[in-house]
């Protein structure tokens, strides 16, 4: 190897109890048997230290792809490649993880081995897009690495204006709050849009995320253009014996202070015999009591999903949370899943037609109005579509009578049909 670059500033990042990625890159530089990898690591450390010294980034984008795809690789070319030649090309491959991010150690080893053969030996499980990030490959080797892992079942994720790799929570596999089959929904949706993942042809990114309950462990409401969140519409289940047990263990004060009074809609009441009364009609599914008392309280039996559209982080307009477009839908049968897929297709088609360049779905909804969006994707306006639960008793009454008449007429038609 050429001389090791001095990295006094990066060395600072090795202090403290948390494992350090700098130590990791140094391990590759100092201990890895392959000269190609140790040189690459040395060069990368050199450039990074240079960035710290000059307080500037030196990576440029470009165009790199594998044969047949238009996305999935994040190209990075160094602007200071002459000084740090071995990491001159340092592209990242985004690879779709299994829904729920499960791995066997043997599969992780196999992926690591392939990556050592072709790449830098640096990877992240997972990037914030939900992909496995294989960081640091030359232009030529992206193809070789992809060919190898593609043969044993791995495919690239999305990058650029396309349907992006999805995310789902641990869900039904290991969580009692799960209301839907997260893995099935995730795979049904993503694999329906495989073509749109690999070939960017949309106004901008489009993300699906699936959470099994309103705890929303994958932040779908904040991040996903289409969020599927599990919920239930009957009463939550209360095991009164367990409630009594919990009160006995923790004390009434603890239960009142930490559960009862923390219900945002005041629908919990602890009775004199230490059983719990729930006003289910006013429950907004904040999940707090279920989280604190998982043994005593659980979701109801009539489970399904709420669909929200238009969540995103800041861009043209500031952060937007998803808006409910389907208050509740069952997801039990294949027909239900078809309905969900059709809704997603309608939405993406409508947005692809009407969205401006570099405009997320939520921004389009802001621009054209929710009513026009709903009309475009073929959904009827419903009073249950709420952006936020009401916290004020003020109600706008303009146009009330007309809308009420329309509502009852629709109800009547639905009943007749």
């Amino acid at each position: 190897m050429a001389d090791k670059h001095n990295t006094p500033m990066l060395d600072e990042l090795e202090h403290g109890p948390w494992p350090s990625f700098i130590s990791g890159i140094k391990r590759l530089r100092d201990q890895h048997p392959q000269e190609r990898i140790s040189n690459m690591a040395n060069s990368l450390l050199g450039q990074l230290e240079h960035s710290y010294e000059t307080r500037k980034g030196y990576w440029k984008g470009g165009t790199v792809s594998v044969f047949g795809y238009g996305s999935g690789i994040i190209p990075r070319f160094s602007e200071v490649g002459d000084a740090f030649p071995e990491s001159r090309e340092f592209h990242t491959l985004r690879v779709q993880p299994p829904a729920g991010n499960y791995y066997s150690t043997s599969m992780l080893r196999q992926l690591g081995e392939s990556w050592e053969k072709h790449g830098s030996g640096l990877q992240t499980f997972h990037g914030q897009t939900g992909n496995i990030m294989f960081i640091g490959s030359t232009t030529e080797n992206t193809q070789h690495f992809f060919d190898e892992i593609n043969e044993y079942g791995w495919d690239l994720g999305g990058a650029g204006p396309c349907v992006r790799t999805g995310m789902c929570c641990v869900g039904a596999a290991r969580c009692e709050q799960s209301n839907i089959d997260e893995i099935k929904i995730h795979r049904t949706l993503l694999n329906n849009f495989t073509d749109d993942v690999h070939r960017p042809a949309l106004p901008y990114k489009f993300k699906f995320k699936v959470s099994g309950c309103p705890n929303d462990c994958v932040n779908s409401i904040e991040r996903a253009d289409c969020a599927i969140i599990g919920t239930w519409r009957d009463d939550m289940k209360v095991d009164q014996e367990e409630v009594k047990d919990f009160v006995e263990k923790k004390g009434r004060k603890y239960v009142i202070d930490n559960v009862i009074t923390r219900c945002p809609t005041n629908c919990l009441s602890l009775k004199d015999d230490d059983t719990l009364e729930v006003d289910n009609r006013n429950c907004v599914k904040c999940m707090h009591c279920l989280n604190v008392m998982p043994k005593a309280l659980s979701p109801g039996d009539d489970k399904g999903a709420t669909i929200l559209m238009g969540g995103k982080r800041t861009l043209k307009v500031g952060d937007l949370m998803g808006t409910v477009v389907v208050p509740f839908m069952k997801l039990d049968t294949e027909e239900d899943y078809e309905k969900l897929t059709e809704l997603a297709e309608e939405t993406i088609d409508f947005w692809a037609e009407n969205g401006l360049e570099h405009e997320r779905c939520g921004e389009m909804i802001e621009r054209i109005g929710l009513v026009n969006f709903l009309d475009g994707i073929g959904l009827e306006v419903d009073p249950n579509m709420v952006a936020d639960p009401t916290t004020s008793s003020y109600v706008r009454m303009d146009g009330w009578d007309d809308e009420a008449e329309k509502w009852f007429k629709e109800k009547l038609q639905a009943a007749e049909a």
Binding site: P19, I25, R27, G57, S106, Q128, D181, R187, V218
Partner: protein, 155 residues
């Protein structure tokens, strides 16, 4: 090689999309899919989930440096094979989770993880992993890879 030959040498991708997760899932989780009753928190970084069937699974969560070098990845796998059951998952904040089917495996696994410098914790009301988009903890990883360095992340 002519351009045409170069094209022919390329292999068309197999568009499998998102892989099936069940093949990589701990057998206890596979058996009790959708049948979990409740969970307990034995200690920071450890979760115990109990299914209606009576099966239980312990999850041990540890923080990693997120950008893993392949040596660390193999070390995590070695620990997983020797002290756990060979099945892991990653949280969306890049913590690694080991799943084991017996309580007796929890203690030695934690000792081994901490011995190797990983931080066990991050469940319930404890501090979890600090994460960055490849360009968000701007002055750090961003220079490592991201061109947009200090800009906001529009995920």
């Amino acid at each position: 090689m002519s351009e045409q030959n170069a094209q022919a040498a390329n292999r068309p991708p197999i568009e499998t999309g998102c892989p099936d997760a069940f093949q990589y899932m701990h057998p206890v989780m596979r058996r009790n899919y959708g049948q979990w009753a409740y969970h307990e928190d034995p200690r920071p970084g450890v979760l115990k989930h109990v299914a209606h069937s009576g099966d239980a699974i312990w999850t041990i969560r540890a923080g990693t440096q997120r950008i893993l070098d392949v040596t660390t990845l193999n070390l995590l796998c070695d620990i997983g094979d020797e002290y756990a059951d060979g099945y892991v998952r990653f949280t969306i904040r890049s913590n690694i989770e080991y799943m084991v089917d017996k309580e007796s495996k929890v203690g030695p696994l934690i000792v081994e993880l901490e011995k190797n410098g990983f931080v066990v914790g991050g469940t319930k009301k404890f501090c979890g992993n600090d994460i960055s988009y490849t360009g968000l903890v701007a002055l750090r990883y961003s220079w490592n890879r991201c061109i947009r360095g200090c800009e906001s992340y529009d995920g």
